[in-house]
Every structure is written in structure tokens, then in C-alpha cells.
């Protein structure tokens, strides 16, 4: 008997019949050819999150991002009119990279009134208009109005900045994000301005690392060392069941119980957790978000044992909501078929005291300790999937539904892209 109610079909997976229940192949994660198709079909055609508007605090604040998967570098800037815009980071004169410091491949950020190319001093305002051409009279019928920076579609949802590299895209961001996101609207993200960001180069396909973070079936086993011994045995014997799963188009979510905060029995947790009143799920003393009720997508079953929700916004953006009122985001930026850059960012209400600061530090350091276990496990998975073994398919259980959904979605985008390009040919 399941501890938590499953859909009438008997399982979460069968509730979404397009997913099937057969063992799956990870051929989509070990093939350079498939990755090239994903770059075109997914990373150049969907809305990609780049972080929050607070990263651009003032008029003229900008940052650059190296978008390997989409094959370009971009500038994201807050204009004099407070609009956030994105441009390809290329001077229209000879194609020099427009904004960079010392090392052209490294990202940079700052505040400016205009962009000026290092090469021949062409200048652009914050809306991308070309405003100055060095020795303009030497050119032939050149009209600066024809030489604006190449714009990238850029929209903001609840303070989250997204870009879309498909110039012909007609789906607005909010429509793309769908119902799961609409049910998050009103969450006071703008109050969570205390930020810790971590980055890691991972030797595995980007989807495999998402896989690791959208199932908790592994948690009682892989992370057992983080529990006190009695607790580890109990957790392993229970196994794991989520409170609920949700899927809407390419996006998905899992709602989970947990977060022993504070624990009924203090001996269940590590001594330092007791001293600082914090743990992986965050500070035991909840931050004040200034709202009466969480938006409907957070703890959708309104379960009293709720601890955390993980949302996957396809392709590579996850937002995790934790019961003590903080948020963690994950980004997975592919750099090749079997490598990617992982970024984890924790957002807290700014601490007023050292006690609150240390409780947050404990949560963030716990995330890193768990993440290091996950990261190395995935390199081991990638190497075996790529090896020449006769095993080609793998079973997935009902608690691994979001993995099935992710790989299914990636294949669907690639299939649809291939169909359109064939028709167009």
C-alpha cells in the first residue's frame, strides 16, 4: 500500500500514458549527434532562464553569458527605461565580441551608459542602437540605424529573466511556462535577496544530472552517511514516496515530504544541526515571507508533512521551494554531449543576525556536501552508459517518473524539429 495517494490509474506514470512504462534507453545522453540536434531543437528554440532581475540592480547594469549550447555569447542589460533586454554580444562592424574583460571567453558584468567596441570604438546605447561610428564618412552610404545590435527575445516572469534564441518564436514566456508556473505567481521571490551561488563542471550529460535531482528514490541510500546511524537504517527501510507529481507539457514537478525541522528526537540529526537549528532543508526557524498562504503550486496537496517541491522548467531550469521559506535553483548548461556546467543558487531572506546567517550557511554547505556525492556518481553513470556493454535499456520505477518525462520530452523536441526541417527541405 502506498503511504500517499496515487492517481486512479494506480501509478503516477500511468496517469500520463504517453510516457509508457517500458525500460528506457539513454542513447539520448551518450551521442554527440543527438546533442547537436538538442542544441538546435531545444537550446535554440525554448525559453532559457538566466537568473533574476536583482542581478541587474540599476539602469545600465549588465552581464554577459556564454551560451555554449546555443552557440553564442549574449549581453543582458537593464535599459534607461528599466526594461531588461538581451543582445548577441557582437559588434556589427567586424564581428568582434563587444563586451568582455581580459579574457574573451569569460563572463563579465558591470554598469555602463553605453557599450563601446574595443576594436574601432563603435558605440551602442542600452537599447542596442548604434550611436557612433568611428570615421563614419569613410564608409559607403552607411546608416547607423541599420547597425543595431542583434536582439535576442527576452522576457521576465516573476523577476526571472529568460531568453529565447528563436527569432521566429511566437510563444510568450508565460504561456510557455504553463500552469505549474502560473501557480507559483505571487511567491515573494523579490524578498529573497541573500544569494549564494555554486558552480561545478560535471562530466555527464546535462539530462543525467537533472535525473539525479528529480528523484528522491536515491536519497535514503546514496546519502545515508549524512544521517545518524539509527535514522539511516529507518530511512532506508521506509524507502521513498513523493506526496505528488505534476506534469504540464514539457515541465514537471515533484512534491516531497521531509525536513525534520525541528526533529521530534534531537538525536536524529547531527550535533551541528542541533546547535545551529538548521539542516539540508534549511533553517528550522522559518523566515517571514510576508504572505498569508503559499501560492497553489507550492505544496499542492497542502500536506502537513510537506518539506520541499522541485519544479523542472524545460529544458534546464529547476526551482526548489523549501518549507522554511527559501529557494534553490539549478541550471544545467551543456558544453558537450557528456559535459555540462551545473549552477546551484540559494536565495534566502537576508539574515538580520549572525545566528540566522549561520543557519543559512549550514543549509548551503549541506547542499554542497550532497551535491558532491551526486556529481561523482553521475560521472560513473556516464562512463558506463558510454561503455561497450550489451545492456541498452533500463527500468524506471514510479518515483522516477520525471526522468522518464525529461528524456521523453527531449526526444519529442528533437523528433518535431527533425520533422519540420525535413518538411522545409
Amino acid at each position: 500500500m502506498p503511504h500517499y495517494t496515487k492517481p486512479a490509474e494506480g501509478s503516477w506514470t500511468q496517469h500520463y500514458p504517453e510516457l509508457g512504462t517500458d525500460p528506457v534507453s539513454y542513447d539520448d545522453s551518450i551521442s554527440p549527434e543527438f546533442y547537436e540536434l538538442e542544441r538546435e531543437a531545444i537550446f535554440r528554440r525554448t525559453w532559457l532562464n538566466l537568473g533574476r532581475v536583482e542581478q541587474l540592480p540599476r539602469k545600465g547594469s549588465y552581464f554577459t553569458r556564454e551560451m555554449d549550447a546555443a552557440g553564442t555569447s549574449i549581453i543582458v542589460v537593464r535599459g534607461m527605461d528599466d526594461e531588461v533586454r538581451a543582445f548577441h554580444n557582437m559588434c556589427r562592424h567586424r564581428g568582434n565580441k563587444l563586451v568582455w574583460q581580459d579574457y574573451p571567453r569569460e563572463e563579465t558584468s558591470g554598469v555602463c551608459r553605453q557599450f563601446q567596441c574595443k576594436y574601432h570604438a563603435w558605440r551602442y546605447d542600452l537599447q542596442g542602437q548604434c550611436t557612433f561610428v568611428q570615421q563614419e564618412q569613410e564608409f559607403f552610404d552607411l546608416d547607423k540605424a541599420d547597425y543595431s545590435l542583434a536582439a535576442v527575445q527576452c522576457e521576465v516572469w516573476e523577476g526571472w529573466i529568460f531568453v529565447n534564441f528563436d527569432a521566429s518564436n511566437t510563444t510568450p514566456l508565460r504561456e510557455y511556462l504553463g500552469e505549474l508556473a502560473w501557480g507559483l505567481e505571487g511567491y515573494p521571490f523579490d524578498k529573497l535577496t541573500q544569494v549564494h551561488r555554486y558552480r561545478s563542471e560535471i562530466g555527464a550529460n546535462w539530462k543525467l544530472f537533472i535525473d539525479a535531482f528529480v528523484e528522491f528514490y536515491h536519497a535514503p541510500i546514496l546519502h545515508s552517511g549524512q544521517y545518524q546511524p539509527d535514522e539511516a537504517a529507518k530511512v532506508a527501510s521506509y524507502g521513498y514516496e513523493a506526496l505528488a507529481y505534476g506534469i504540464d507539457g514539457p515541465h514537471g514537478m515533484v512534491s516531497s515530504w521531509g525536513g525534520i525541522a525541528p526533529p521530534k528526537d534531537p538525536s536524529m540529526v547531527k550535533p551541528m544541526e542541533r546547535e545551529l537549528r538548521s539542516g539540508l532543508f534549511g533553517p528550522w526557524d522559518h523566515a517571514d515571507l510576508g504572505i498569508d498562504e503559499l501560492p497553489p503550486s507550492v505544496n499542492p496537496t497542502r500536506h502537513k508533512n510537506w518539506g520541499t517541491d522541485s519544479f523542472v522548467f524545460f529544458p534546464n531550469f529547476m526551482i526548489l521551494f523549501w518549507k522554511p521559506n527559501w529557494v534553490l535553483t539549478y541550471h544545467y548548461w551543456p558544453t558537450s554531449y557528456n559535459t555540462h556546467i551545473f549552477e546551484g543558487t540559494a536565495y534566502f531572506v537576508p539574515p538580520k543576525t549572525a545566528r540566522e546567517r549561520l543557519a543559512q550557511e549550514y543549509a548551503v554547505v549541506s547542499f554542497k556536501e550532497y551535491g558532491l556525492q551526486d556529481a561523482n556518481t553521475l560521472e560513473a553513470t556516464q562512463s558506463m552508459l558510454e561503455s561497450n556493454t550489451p545492456v541498452k535499456t533500463f527500468p524506471l520505477n514510479d518515483q522516477e517518473i520525471l526522468l522518464r518525462h525529461l528524456h521523453h520530452t527531449a526526444r519529442r523536441y528533437v523528433d518535431e524539429y527533425q520533422k519540420t526541417t525535413l518538411v522545409g527541405a
Binding site: 541573500q194 544569494v195 549564494h196 551561488r197 555554486y198 558552480r199 561545478s200 563542471e201 560535471i202 552517511g225 549524512q226 547531527k270 550535533p271 551541528m272 546547535e275 545551529l276 551545473f342 549552477e343 546551484g344 543558487t345 539574515p351 538580520k352 543576525t353 549572525a354 545566528r355 540566522e356 546567517r357 549561520l358 550557511e361 549550514y362 548551503v364 554547505v365 554542497k368 556536501e369 551535491g371 558532491l372 556525492q373 556529481a375 561523482n376 556518481t377 560521472e379
Partner: protein, 111 residues
């Protein structure tokens, strides 16, 4: 010969471990994995019993107005968090099975 103390005088007993009062998780983690378990255990054994005293001391000040020596004490306790995982869970400085993996802080609060 006068020596300059890093920590508030109330925590003179932790002065031998003042080298852990490092700004930034990256520096604290680097020191952890360069240390032996004996060194980590010695720091933990000295600092852990003083945690509540340190929290009470630090909470006299608003976080954005911490004196220099109090800032050092805060960082020392941030380091104790980093060190608590090997001492309380892993029994080794590195996360088990983490191999060559690294996860690096690239943005952190100043204090």
C-alpha cells in the same frame, strides 16, 4: 612581545584556531581538504562546545555592523560548519566517493 588577537577577547581560548577565520566558503573548504582528521577534530573539539556562547556574543550586534574581531568569529563558525561534515559524518576530510568532483562558491554574502 605583544601579539595581535584575531578573535574577541572572550574567545581567547579559540585563538590557536584563528587560522580558520577565513572569508569565503571556498577558502574554508580548501583548508578543510588540506587538513588531517586530527587537525579537523582538534578544531571541532575546541570550537563546538563554544557555539552557543559565540552565537550569543555575535547577536549583540546587527549583522551589518559587526566589529572586525566579531566578523572573524563569525567566519570561524562558518568554518566549523564546513569542518563538521568530516567530523560528524564522513570520518575523512573529503566527501566519500567525490573523487575529483568540485563544487565551487562563485557568489557569496560579503559577511
Amino acid at each position: 612581545m605583544a601579539t595581535t588577537s584575531v578573535l574577541p577577547s572572550e574567545f581567547a581560548d579559540l585563538e590557536p584556531f584563528a587560522g580558520w577565520a577565513l572569508q569565503g566558503e571556498r577558502a574554508r573548504y580548501a583548508k578543510r581538504i588540506e587538513s588531517t582528521m586530527d587537525e579537523l577534530q582538534a578544531f571541532y573539539d575546541a570550537a563546538f562546545p563554544r557555539t552557543q556562547a559565540a552565537l550569543d556574543y555575535l547577536d549583540q550586534f546587527p549583522l551589518d555592523e559587526l566589529p572586525e574581531d566579531a566578523k572573524h568569529l563569525l567566519w570561524l563558525y562558518c568554518a566549523l560548519i564546513t569542518v563538521s561534515f568530516p567530523v560528524e559524518a564522513w570520518r575523512q576530510p573529503r566527501v566519500p566517493d567525490s573523487g575529483a568532483s568540485s563544487i565551487d562558491a562563485i557568489l557569496e554574502p560579503v559577511i
